[in-house]
Subunit: 215 residues, 2 copies
Amino acid sequence: MTFGIIRVLTTNDDAVLLEHGRLIKAQYGIDSVTRCIPDQPTGIFDADTEARAVPKIVELGRQMEADGARALFLSCAADPGLADLRPAVTIPVVSAGSASARVAALLGLPVAVLGIGAHAPQPFRALLGEDIPYARPEGVTKTNDLLTPEGKRAALDAAQRLHEQGAKVIAFSCTGFSTIGLAAQIREHIGCVAVDAVAAAGMFVVEMLGPARGQ
Amino acid sequence: MTFGIIRVLTTNDDAVLLEHGRLIKAQYGIDSVTRCIPDQPTGIFDADTEARAVPKIVELGRQMEADGARALFLSCAADPGLADLRPAVTIPVVSAGSASARVAALLGLPVAVLGIGAHAPQPFRALLGEDIPYARPEGVTKTNDLLTPEGKRAALDAAQRLHEQGAKVIAFSCTGFSTIGLAAQIREHIGCVAVDAVAAAGMFVVEMLGPARGQ
């Protein structure tokens, strides 16, 4: 095992479970093992489901370290349990939210956050400011809504509006935008910076572990 | 010791030695210990000086790990010895060149590299392509040249030319640009993305180690 990916929803559908590992493998050439927390098929969507998930995330991270993971990727833009997981393991832990927000902060240009929740998740407010501009695509409230033609169009439209309002950098706070390849669409059709949360996390992992042979 | 910074030139001038640690502390709030390789007061400037430096870099990294470093930052944009250092230690190693080049590659927009050598250093050609556009400021051949008003002006002019030639992202391949704060100048006066190599490396380190208390 080179690195472990933790998914915070319970699924046995490999197309869902392995999606982020597949994206990182395609971009960086490194292999991963993905596991998901048990008994939460609808994932994390409020304070109660987060509180139930955190001990499972910590336990899963510990198991993956014991099984040989050299780094962990917590694949959720809200970074649930990150502050508990880091001190519970000895290996580096990257999370989708802080990875995306840190890259956006590094660039030092006007940033806006694009997600699907009611507001920007905590790591984005912590690293970019409580008042960071935020939008979600019209009609989109869950990641599956992004998979339709209307959902994809609404996501690009929302990015366009953020850019027109002054954003030079659009940081994704939902890993569903990675699945639909929204960053490439923004670069091509809008021309501004898009920070993909899964690609950003993969970048941190590859720099931590060193590149795959041949890279 | 939280993380160790390796400088690849020999100096006992603390203003020079500690500069990168100071920049990272100011931006990310994390402490570091800096050491330099012995007996190379003019640093690395050709194949021979690099060959002499690499075993010293590996040995210094090993010592710093033994002394408690949780991560290492090889503070040179040419990544000298990085491929040897990574397998010689068990802690993550970040280097200024690969950190800057990886962030630039992640953004997926037209990139150019700004440095002070004859051409873009190897990690930039490896990650961004052999033909990556490259420039150096007129009249600048060593980092000290950047400290004069003429050097600073020449650096901004070179960035402006790269931007006019199509670059939307300017990645620094010299840590001297960090000392003169060139990234902020580019953002203010040109408005495009500037990737500061020391700030980029600091970002990787803070994500590896977790943020300092209170961040």
